[in-house]
Amino acid sequence: MNNNSTWEFGTRQVVYGAIGAALYGALSWATNFFPLPAAGNITFRPAVAVLIFFGVAYGPIVGLLAGFIGNTLGDLISGFGFYWNWSLGNGLMGMIPGLVMASITDFKARSQIIKAVGWGALGIAVGMLFASLTEMFTGGIDLNTALVGYFVPAFLGNFIVTAILLPILMIAFAGVAARRGR
């Protein structure tokens, strides 16, 4: 199912990068205005699970493009403008789980699902930490606000969504790929 080299950038990566970005943008837009309430200032974005799934299934280039372009698209259609650091943070959030693509051979296997969720958590941590810390330079906030006010809620919300929806996406994808035969 997964025989591409990790850093290949061909037609497949272009198309799935665009599809991932469009899906991430559309789903982000939906949850920007209709957020799922959670504790404190945590807002769940189900789109994050889709982004990490695209990284795991199609590789780091696809994850990076889907996260960067998708977040930009979501912010643009929501009318929020362009925030390069959050877009790049989202790109990292998709790229890092993509590093595990080559070792995911069975999308239904429990051990491989756990591995994907673990790499997804790492991607969320790195991506959101990057975006939160760079907000110190662009937004003029202090380290405490960056970590407590931005990073922790973003990480928790995104991780919970990923831990719940990514396994479902992977199992569904295993079925689709088996029917498709490639």
């Binding site: 061909g10 037609t11 497949r12 990566q13 272009v14 198309v15 799935y16 990068g17 665009a18 599809i19 970005a21 469009a22 899906l23 943008g25 559309a26 789903l27 837009w29 939906a30 799922l36 959670a38 769940f44 189900p46 699970a49 889709v50 799934f53 299934a57 493009l65 372009i69 998708g70 698209l73 643009l76 259609i77 929501s78 009318g79 929020f80 403008g81 362009f82 925030y83 390069w84 110190m136 330079f137 662009t138 937004g139 003029g140 906030i141 202090d142 405490n144 606000t145 006010g149 919970i160 969504v161 719940i164 929806l165 479902i168 996406l169 569904a172 994808f173 689709v176 790929a177 498709r180």
Partner: protein, 292 residues
């Protein structure tokens, strides 16, 4: 659900500019404020007025822009402004000047603790709001005043590779399709009794209930992707440099605007690093107005 582009052709100066010019001016404004770390109100107000001028020149209708402005205002005034006012953190250390006159204290109920608001913190919070708005206003304009069909070409002409530019172009084309798919899926699931609006239960249950909406759309998109890949491969995509249908040409006004952006960036760097101008300080008139 409707995903519609906010863009409408308007006969304005902003829309007559090349899209590359606007991206470059935005980048120059952001870099001018963040790289030399500018906090001098004279420079901040000048750049804010430049951004406000762009915003007004775009002539976007109030009904279109009021919702995003509301969200941006909450972010800027409540989160960033109040943070600056109460803590004074996030800027240069001179904000926490112990000699700055005290305006008032906010006591935490039931405790002896409180937060002291000084003239310096108040001035810093105001500067912080102006600084962020200077960077946000030109960016907010983009979806309303830039043709979505031209993003890919603009990136290509700015030196981005064919593949990345085409990915951007393709993403903009897919977006309405997937938005339509989401609407169709939601309607189909509702017909089967799915209640999107009544997400009962705990956190896990609520997120799990989104699966009937997210999974079909995502899986359908992976199938669509294979068809698109086949079509593109059959047309030998990626085997040679591609051509782009839309042409972009700089006009004299574009050179003038790019020159202005570059001049702003260089001026901020020279002022800060060459002359030591651009750091945070509280002007005397502000202190006199508040404490006499």
């Amino acid at each position: 659900m409707l995903v519609t582009w906010k863009y409408r052709p308007r006969n304005t100066f902003i829309q007559s500019l090349d899209p590359r010019t606007r991206f470059i001016l935005l980048a120059c404004t952001i870099f001018a404020l963040t790289i030399p770390d500018i906090w001098d109100y004279r420079i901040l107000v000048s750049l804010f007025l430049l951004s406000l001028t762009q915003f007004l020149l775009a002539r976007i209708e109030w009904k279109d822009i009021r919702r995003p402005l509301f969200f941006i205002s909450i972010l800027v005034f409540l989160i960033v402004g109040l943070n600056g006012l109460l803590s004074g953190r996030g800027g240069p250390s001179s904000v926490d000047d112990p000699n700055s006159p005290i305006l008032f204290q906010v006591l935490i109920p039931g405790t002896a603790w409180g937060v002291t608001v000084t003239i310096s913190k108040l001035w810093f919070a105001m500067n912080q709001v102006i600084r962020i708005l200077s960077m946000a206003l030109p960016a907010i304009l983009i979806p309303y005043s830039m043709d979505p069909n031209i993003y890919g070409t603009a990136f290509k002409r700015m030196g981005v590779s064919d593949k990345i530019s085409f990915t951007t172009d393709l993403a903009f084309r897919f977006l309405p399709t997937f938005a339509r798919d989401l609407t169709i899926t939601m309607d189909a699931q509702r017909a089967r009794g799915y209640e999107m609006d009544k997400l009962k239960g705990g956190v896990v249950a609520r997120i799990q209930r989104l699966a009937p909406l997210v999974i079909p759309v995502t899986m359908q998109s992976t199938v669509t992707g294979e068809e698109v890949i086949d079509a593109m491969d059959l047309r030998a995509f990626g085997t040679a440099p591609r051509t782009w249908l839309k042409e972009l040409h700089y006009a004299p006004r574009d050179y003038a605007v790019i020159g202005l952006g570059v001049a702003i960036f260089i001026t901020c760097c020279v002022l800060k690093w060459g002359f030591g101008i651009g750091g945070f300080f509280v002007p005397d008139f502000f202190t006199k107005v508040l404490v006499g």
